[in-house]
Structure formats: structure tokens, C-alpha cells
Symmetry: C2
Subunit: 293 residues, 2 copies
């Protein structure tokens, strides 16, 4: 797993192996979960799991269940965020959002199930040769990145967001909503190191994870304004139309682009002490170049 | 913790200790979670954790986080089940349901957060002196009881339920929707045994858990028809009005009551080989006598 295309193909192939057996008493649930998991996601978070895992020397059979569980949590959050009571998005990745396709009730339950399944995959002893202690730490990291101090906290700040938000609050919002899971993906990959990491290494991965999450969000805000519907797979300008306060609102488009470029260079600088950094660098370029499509 | 009143008071006192610190950027989330956790639940599942734990000789500091995590998962399921897209219930335990009080968006997120928090509590090394291996097994049991093969599967069968359901399908629906978490509560308490349980003991707890779940659901269906709004805390006859197929529909009220009484005796019989069975017996009586209030 050494480039994003390979990760995308691999996740597409393996992620449904972790689904429970289809039950014909309620096929909708299985259909909705597969739909949410397989509709062409970028697989950025799994890539971070693999690429950080590769840096520390983790093996693929250790990383597969982690990469899939992180993607399940990401997909759960998209399904719930798209609901009418939240962002009310009809489209996701150029296709109908889960609730438009299966109904709100099924979408809520499919999301719940993906969240629960992510933790089930990580807690299952038969998945991967990782010690119980590390496995518990992985679950704890993923839960933290999901809850109040992660995506859920960020989503509620986003829902309640308003023009009185300043840049500091905006940064906090995004560090929770997007940054937490991006950082967790890196830290979970790093946790599979066969030998324990030094404090210095842990601090470095933490900082890189924070910076990468911020870069992602600034770029995503620019993309929301710039890209047309076909490229983005959702309606362009959605965030602005929803009254959400973005980096483009805070800085203007030109300054936001400049900020994104600064962040890109600063993350790359943070990576310099790491020998096998090329795969993570390719992710940085991928995130950044999306803004100028 | 040797009777239901004591469990209720204890859970009310300790469950919010496991909440993350309140963040003033989004106080609604904390408010909604506390509301969902503290609005007068019966704490039946925590009681099963404690009482089964007591049978096998587990200590209270082992059982507290387990009892709270099980109750968090139960409360998450109630918040989501009450949503307009699901059962559309305005009342829960005699008070406004979470989405009526805080809005649908906040209720969806509070539910998500309770589910994630339950797993976070169990994965946190600082909670209780339990080995990493047992802790993982607890998370796995709780996830299984939550997902497709548990509550979520049961809820989707319930949503799609119709008069073509026969009694076998009804039993499956309820074994998932209600039975799975009731059984998991017992098995999680039993897992804290200081010495490993024999296969015979494990099989016995499993069977008791199954039977107790069924008893609970038959009694709940009778209660839904019989009780008035003040006792039940929600609108009586709701299930029937929603077109859901219940045990009362399948058997008629008289036969359903007879069936409940049979189940009650059969669970008690299963308990006879267990020395310290009186606390679980009191739960059986509590479940059963609710039907004749």
C-alpha cells in the first residue's frame, strides 16, 4: 500500500469483509451500509493509517482492520451529517446521499451501525496480530476522535456556527470536526510500531496530524467555493449557503489560498526528520492540489 | 448494589462522571446527553450487570464502568428510536423526548456521542482493574449487542414490521431489539468473575439472558396496551398505533399474559442451580409485576 490509488482499490476490495453476514429479514440495512462504504470515497484516512504504519514498520495485516474501522467511522459521520436535520445534503460524492436513497430511518440506523461496527472490528481478537493493550489504545483513540472532543463536537459547533465566530473558534471547530480523525488515523498507524515510539516521535506525529487536519480543512473550504458540482460530487457553495462560517469567509479566497500554501510547506518541514516520508508527502500534495482543480 | 432502588440511586450519582468535560463552545451537547442519561430510567440493564457480577464475585469498581456503558448504549438507542424518522415519540419516561427538547440535530449527535462514549469508557485503562483482554471482550459483546445482530437489527425489523410477521419472526425481532442488550448486560457482569467460568456456567447465563429478554418484551407489549400514559411515561397503545406487530397482536391479551407468566416461571427454574440468585429473581418479579400495575 504505497500510493493513494492502491489504497482506494484495496479498501474497496476488503472493507465489506468486515460487515456482519447479510440478514434477509432486513436487507435494507446491509444495502445502506454497503452504499455508504463503497460510493467512491477518497480513502484519505485509510491511506494515512497505511502510510504512517509503513513509516514505523507495521505490517499490512495489522493495518487492514484499523484502516477499515477508521473509514467506517468517517462514513458514519457523512451519513449522519447529510441528514435533513443536519446539513440536508441530497448529494454525496456525486450520488444520492444515503437517506435520499434508503430513507432517513434506514440512514440513521446504518450510520449507528457503522460506528458500532468500527469498534467491533477493532475489538475482535481474530482481526490482526496486535496485543490486547494496543488494540484497546486504538479503540480509545478512535472513540476520542469520534465524540465530544472530536467529530461530534465539531459537527455541533458547525451546526451552531455563525458570523460571530472568529478564526480561533473556526480553528477549534475544524480541529474537532475534521482534524481529530485525520490525526487519529496517523496515530493509530503509528501505534502499530513493532517497537515502542519515543516521546519525541509521538509528539512529532501528533503535530503533523494536527497540521494535516488544518491543511485539509482550509483546502476543503476553498474547494467548496471553487469547484463545480461535477468535480466536488456535492453542490458547490453549500457551506456558505448553509450560513456556515468558513476559512474563505474569514480570510477571503486569495488569503485562504495563501494560507493553504503556507500550511503545505510547514507540514512538509515537520516531516523532514522522517526517512520514509514520501507517501505522506504525496498525501499533502493530493490535498493541496484538489484546491486548484 | 443489591436491589433495584440502590442501583437507580447509584447510577444517577455516578453516570455523569464518565462524561467528557463540558465545553462552553457547544453546551447543548452536554445538556442533551445529561438529559438523556438522567431522565429517570429504570436502570434495569445496570442492575443485571451488578447482580450477575455479584453472583460471580466481581467487585463494584469493576462493575461501575460496565454498568454505565451499558446504560449509555441503552439511552443512545432510545434517543435515536424516538426521532421523527423512526418512532416519532414526543414523550419518553413522562418527559419530552430528547429531540423535542433540544432539536433533532442535537439529539442525533447526542445519541452518536453516547454510543461512542460507552466504548470509550470501556477502553479507558484508568476505569477499573480489569485486564486488557477482558476489557476487549466486554467491548466486543457490547458492540455485538448494539449492531446488526443486536439493537440496530431489531430496530430496523421493527420499523419494517407488518402483519405478515409470524411469532417466530417476532421472537427474532425482539431477541435483537431488546434481548441482545439484556443478555449482554448479564454476560458482561459474568465476565468480571475473578476465576474463569466453566462452559456450563456460561451456557446457563446465556440461556437465562435470552429468556429474560423475551420475558421483558412480552411484558412490555402487554404494558403498552394496558398502562395509562402517566404510569408508562409515554402514550399507551403507541406500538399498535404505529402498526407494529406485538405479542398482544400475535396472541391476544389473555394469552400474552399467560405466556408472560410461563416465561417468568421458566426463567426462575433456570436460576435454581445458582446460589446467590435472589437479586436476579427480584428483577424477574419487577419485570413481571409491571404488567399488572
Amino acid at each position: 500500500m504505497n500510493n493513494l490509488d492502491a489504497v482506494q482499490a484495496h479498501i474497496q476490495k476488503i472493507i465489506t469483509h468486515y460487515l456482519p453476514p447479510r440478514d434477509n429479514h432486513y436487507p435494507e440495512l446491509d444495502d445502506a451500509m454497503r452504499y455508504a462504504l463503497l460510493n467512491g470515497g477518497k480513502r484519505l484516512r485509510p491511506a494515512l493509517v497505511y502510510f504512517t504504519g509503513n513509516i514505523v514498520g507495521a505490517t499490512r495485516d495489522m493495518l487492514d482492520p484499523i484502516a477499515c474501522s477508521v473509514e467506517m467511522v468517517h462514513c458514519f459521520s457523512l451519513v449522519h451529517d447529510d441528514l435533513p436535520a443536519m446539513d440536508n445534503s441530497d448529494l454525496r460524492r456525486g450520488q444520492l446521499s444515503c437517506h435520499k436513497k434508503f430513507g432517513e430511518d434506514v440512514a440513521i440506523l446504518a450510520g449507528d451501525n457503522l460506528l458500532s461496527l468500527a469498534m467491533e472490528v477493532l475489538s475482535d481478537q481474530k482481526n490482526a496480530p496486535i496485543s490486547a493493550k494496543i488494540r484497546l489504545a486504538l479503540i480509545h483513540m478512535l472513540c476520542k476522535a469520534t465524540g465530544s472532543e472530536g467529530m461530534v463536537g465539531g459537527q455541533i459547533m458547525d451546526i451552531k456556527s455563525n458570523i460571530h465566530y472568529n478564526q480561533r473558534i473556526l480553528k477549534k471547530l475544524h480541529s474537532l470536526k475534521t482534524g481529530a480523525l485525520i490525526k487519529a488515523s496517523m496515530m493509530m498507524g503509528a501505534s502499530c510500531s513493532p517497537s515502542p515510539l519515543s516521546t519525541e516521535e509521538l509528539v512529532r506525529f501528533n503535530k503533523i496530524g494536527d497540521a494535516l487536519g488544518l491543511l485539509y480543512q482550509v483546502c476543503d473550504d476553498i474547494l467548496d467555493v471553487n469547484a463545480d458540482k461535477n468535480i466536488l460530487g456535492k453542490t458547490a457553495g453549500t457551506d456558505h449557503a448553509l450560513g456556515k462560517y468558513t476559512y474563505v469567509d474569514a480570510l477571503g479566497i486569495k488569503e485562504a489560498q495563501k494560507y493553504a500554501n503556507q500550511l503545505r510547506h510547514s507540514v512538509k518541514e515537520m516531516l523532514t526528520p522522517i526517512a520514509r516520508r514520501d507517501q505522506i508527502e504525496s498525501i499533502i500534495e493530493y490535498i493541496y492540489t484538489r484546491t486548484i482543480t
